[in-house]
Amino acid sequence: MIFSENFRIAFRALWANKMRSVLTTLGIIIGVAAVIAVVSIVQGLQHVINQQFQGVGATYMMVLPNQQSQQGPGVVAKQVKLTWEDGQAIREQVPGVRLITPVVLGPETVKYRQRQHDTLVLGVNGDWPDVSNHAVDRGRFFSAIDLAHRRKVAVVGEEVVQELRLGANPVGKEIYVGSLPATVIGVMEERGQFIGQNIDDLVFIPFDTSLQLFGRRAADQVQLRLQARDATVTEQVRDSIARLLRQRHRIGPDDEDDFQVLLQDEIVRSVNSILGSVTAVVAAVVGVALLVGGIGIMNIMLVSVTERTREIGIRKSVGARRQDILVQFLIEAVTLSLVGGALGVSIGYGIGALVAGILPGDWPAAFVPLWAIALAFGFSALVGIFFGIYPAGKAAQLDPIEALRYE
């Protein structure tokens, strides 16, 4: 028996029952489509996140006030503070810190003439462009003098330039940031989206100036962003910062930190672990879909064997051996599940592409890694073999005389 002949027979049989074949493989189609779509979306997300964090570099770190440490029974609520004074202490006392900036932020409305636009305002110092690895495109960032004199100056993102119609030459234009009049001194490089936040839709003002806008209390709740000297010392730097802040905040040896220090690779790792659990949940759902799909295939193959009892008798009478019949029906089941797998891959890819198209920003074009496709096909084939073996065995065991007599 020539092997390829089995595929021809299988396709012929499946083609004769097109509708039934497609309906049968629906479980497989849905399962595989779900895998491919999710893998494609997660890969896209991971790509975007990794690229962005790679952008700020492996030496990037964040210090945040930890609200959670306030909570708990029997703990007297103590105002969590993280101030720029802490930041300055870190800069002076922790070796290995290269750059550090405080960040306070809040939503504000910016105005220019009759135009207004809701955006996010950040109060930072002159290290911001180097800390966040985001350079100024036109004009300049804050100088020491801007900061020291609490000058009312602003650096805006490209999106803000567009929304306020600041024109081709925004530097020198007078705008309002909330209630605060400010002169635009620079425009940041265009960057696009980053995890739902449009990096181009930001307004920066000097840290001390921003306290006039957000109020003095904001100075107790700053975030610190910093760059370590190199990637090998980040964990040392983190420990030194923790020791210094515990001392400054007078935290007892048994009490928890009222701040947290995040390393860039930890941030990436935690995002990736979330994406990993999303993938795992989907994989479980897909497992169920493939199981249901497999049972569907077994069912339809049993029907097919019964319907074609006479055909089996004819084939046996002209010299088909048991294994010829077994292989024929097994290949038919596998072909069925592989066709389902192929349809699933293309539908899943389509969904991934659609999502990539809908999501704004520099989302990469739908990308499905080869391993996911191989896995999808491998699983489909496995399901076909596993659930096809029983019906095929039943066909192979048919007695030719009985089969020929079957009406």
Partner: protein, 233 residues
């Protein structure tokens, strides 16, 4: 040495409480090139004998030597190979694959013989030409008349050059005119050197053969060999 040598063959079916002796110590020899009609009433064992000769079934006891091979103790795969090489079946109900062209139906035994596609096509076309259906090779069974379907079945039986053409009531589902055509085709195949075994209960059909074997209760009760074929009426 005869082509078929059957010695003291028994075939017993267990039907619950009853044991049915379909073949009961049957002896039969058939020479190569012979033209035999196996006759008998319903229940005489002629279908069982045909299944045994055609290697679709194994005797319960006794010996069956086909073309020098002792068939009685072969396994399933070897029996399948014998059916493929040595036997060409023609059935009363044609038994063609539906929704499948005449050519592909005729090709079927060659697929299981492992013949390559190109040669298969060639030989199947030749077989169809031998039964006068060269121009119908791409028709499906439901597009053919009963007589044409049986011709396709005969072409399928011939295509692998078997030792025996084994026909079970080949005209049972055909009208008298078509029956005549089909039986003449068998005559021609016999004249061309094929060994033909017909199972039939119609004496009109049996009259075409060289030898008539009558079965009753699983035994041969009459075995006549008219010297010459009678002219059909």
């Amino acid at each position: 040495m005869p082509l078929i040598e059957i010695r003291d063959v028994h075939k017993v079916y267990d039907m619950g409480a009853e044991r049915v002796r379909a073949l009961d110590g049957l002896d039969l020899e058939i020479e190569e090139g012979d033209y035999v009609a196996i006759m008998g009433a319903s229940g005489s064992g002629k279908s069982t004998l045909m299944n045994v000769i055609g290697c679709l079934d194994r005797p319960s006891s006794g010996s069956y030597v086909l073309n020098g091979t002792s068939v009685a103790e072969l396994g399933d795969s070897e029996l399948a190979a014998i059916r493929n090489r040595e036997i060409g079946f023609v059935f009363q109900t044609f038994n063609l694959l539906p929704r499948t062209s005449a050519l592909h139906n005729v090709e079927l035994p060659l697929i299981y013989a492992g013949v390559a596609r190109r040669e298969r096509r060639q030989r199947a076309s030749e077989a169809l030409a031998r039964v006068g259906l060269a121009d119908r090779s791409h028709h499906q069974p439901n597009e053919l008349s009963g007589g044409q379907r049986q011709r396709v079945a005969i072409a399928r039986a011939l295509v692998n050059d078997p030792s025996i053409l084994l026909a079970d009531e080949p005209t049972g589902n055909l009208d008298s005119v078509t029956s005549q055509e089909i039986i003449e085709l068998f005559d021609a195949l016999h004249d061309g050197g094929n060994t033909v075994i017909l199972v039939t209960h119609e004496s009109d059909i049996a009259r075409h053969s060289r030898r008539q074997v009558m079965l009753r209760d699983g035994r041969v009760v009459e075995d006549v060999a008219p010297a010459a074929r009678e002219e059909p009426r």
